[in-house]
Amino acid sequence: MKQAKGKILSNEEAKPGYYLMAVKCPPVARAAKPGQFLTVRCGNATEPLLRRPFGFHRINGDAFYILYKVLGKGTKALSSMKAGGAIDILGPLGNGFPDPKGKKDIVIVAGGIGVAPLAALAEKLSKDGKKDISVIIGARDGKSLLCREHFEGLGIKTMVATDDGSCGKKCFATDVLEELIAVRRPFIPVIYACGPGPMIKAVAHVAKKRGLEAYGSFEERIACGVGACLGCAIKTRSGYKLVCKDGPVFSLKEMIW
């Protein structure tokens, strides 16, 4: 974990309302693992005050990418930063996605911007050739669908579900998951999920029903990002855990809804 000045290599709108930023920052990039996150300072005024957390979207060598949705003042400020500029980075923070160990089959379920950290995971898992990876991406519509090309580029079969059916199936990502598990037997995949609360909850439900190992990446408001302020507590079966230090990835069995 380091605080370091990064150099913005690029910062462009990937889809309406979504930006992709590449940052060169060796001490952070070299240590980063998929599922971990970083925090950035969005400018040096006292407004916005707190650092903003983002997952590692892609990690390669001395650089990493973040894929972010423009929501409020922090991400708005971030989106106006120019390539060539410097940015204050703190990371890598938290724990990455646990290794599937022996397990061969992997299913990745992404909802909306939740796809961001899963891209790095898929990239890593696809490197060891022996995995059979399926990705399910859920999005509002085709226009806001993210990363499909990225996964397909990795040779991963990618299924799409949109709320309005404008792309892929008109259903929820988790419906596709149910179906996938129903048709392929025997099929005991490890599931990795990131997305809106309701989606992760649905994934947890499916995993429980089928007795599958499943992990999700969670969000809470972040202040310190290092486990010092106890501000990002999240309820689990074993009491409060810290999203920034014990997470952001948790085993779905552990969570209380």
């Binding site: 974990m1 605080q3 407004e47 005050l49 408001r221 302020c229 990002c232 507590a233």
Partner: protein
């Protein structure tokens, strides 16, 4: 010019410089920041407030950002004094900076027992009495009236020989009154301010943003008020004052010192920029060199009005 002398005294305790970390913003031992900054350069660290028994803390969300500030409602989550001594001491033993342990309780008896336990721990250089946490019932009340505050201070004073610092709440009519009472009751120093009780509302759900409804406001937003309170208090009390509230850089720290603080605590700034405290130490030293000030003590309370 010779290196400026940044040493300050808080009662019997001498700090290598006036820049310390505020309770609850630097972890329960500072270990979380080990890899990030050189903790040994700090004047002191104040550990997260501990209670007699473990507390699980308040329901999330516990944080929300406000204009140039933040609200927190952690609720003094901690494992209790015994686990603190068992689990955190090993790391604290290794530090070469002063360790001030913050204690919080529901009744005078709690404070007494906490102080007595810590009195036996050599590594604890001083005790900060948190009678001003807005996030636990009880806590805040003690610092609301001179008598109740004095009651806690007196009892703690009797149960330890270590320097005692009393941390005051800004949610009062006249903080200097409370400080005066704490001084009479034997505190070695006062630290101010703790957070201001505040809240935020989600207009769509029409519910409070914080799980605990209200929380404590900290950060640059409160600096002007905290600074005024330090100045007012410095005109009333003789004991050293530790200034706290929205200190983000060396300029802010110097404002508190000029207003009358012997030392400062850096809180929210640690979240915004983990290197803030170190940059503050360097900034103060540079300022002193530029102004040819030999001892930081010359600056404390030098405000010309």
């Amino acid at each position: 010019m010779v290196k400026p002398d940044l040493k300050v005294r808080i009662g019997a305790l001498e700090l290598k410089n006036p820049v310390t970390m505020a309770s609850g913003t630097f972890g329960s031992s500072g270990e979380e920041y080990k890899g990030l900054i050189d903790i040994n350069r700090l004047g002191a660290i104040v550990t997260k407030s501990i209670t007699l028994k473990a507390r699980e803390g308040n329901p999330p969300p516990r944080l929300v950002e406000t204009s140039s500030g933040m609200l927190n409602s952690i609720g003094i989550q901690n494992d209790g004094v015994d686990s603190f001594i068992k689990d955190k001491l090993p790391f604290l033993e290794k530090l070469r900076t002063a360790v001030i342990v913050s204690i919080a309780g529901h009744c005078v008896e709690d404070y007494v027992r906490l102080a007595a336990k810590l009195d036996k721990v050599k590594r604890v250089d001083a005790i900060e009495i948190n009678i001003s946490c807005p996030n636990v019932r009880g806590g805040l009340e003690f610092s609301k009236e001179p008598d109740s505050a004095a009651g806690v201070v007196e009892a703690v004073r009797k149960s330890t020989r270590k320097p005692v610092i009393t941390k005051l709440s800004p949610n009062v009519k006249d903080i200097s009154e409370i400080a005066l009472a704490a001084q009479k009751a034997g505190t070695d120093a006062v630290s101010l301010v703790n957070t201001f009780t505040g809240m935020a509302i989600d207009i769509d759900s029409r519910m409070p943003v914080l799980g605990n409804v209200v929380g404590g406001l900290s950060g640059p937003a409160i600096k002007p008020i905290a600074l005024r309170m330090v100045w007012e208090t410095s005109k009333k009390v003789k004991v050293p004052i530790i200034g706290i509230g929205g200190i983000m850089d060396y300029k802010d720290a110097l404002e508190f010192i000029i207003a009358g603080a012997s030392a400062v605590q850096v809180g929210t700034a640690n979240f915004v920029n983990p290197s803030a405290a170190i940059e503050i130490i360097d900034g103060i030293e540079k300022y002193m060199r530029g102004k040819k000030i030999k001892k930081i003590k010359e600056l404390t309370g030098c405000l010309k009005t």
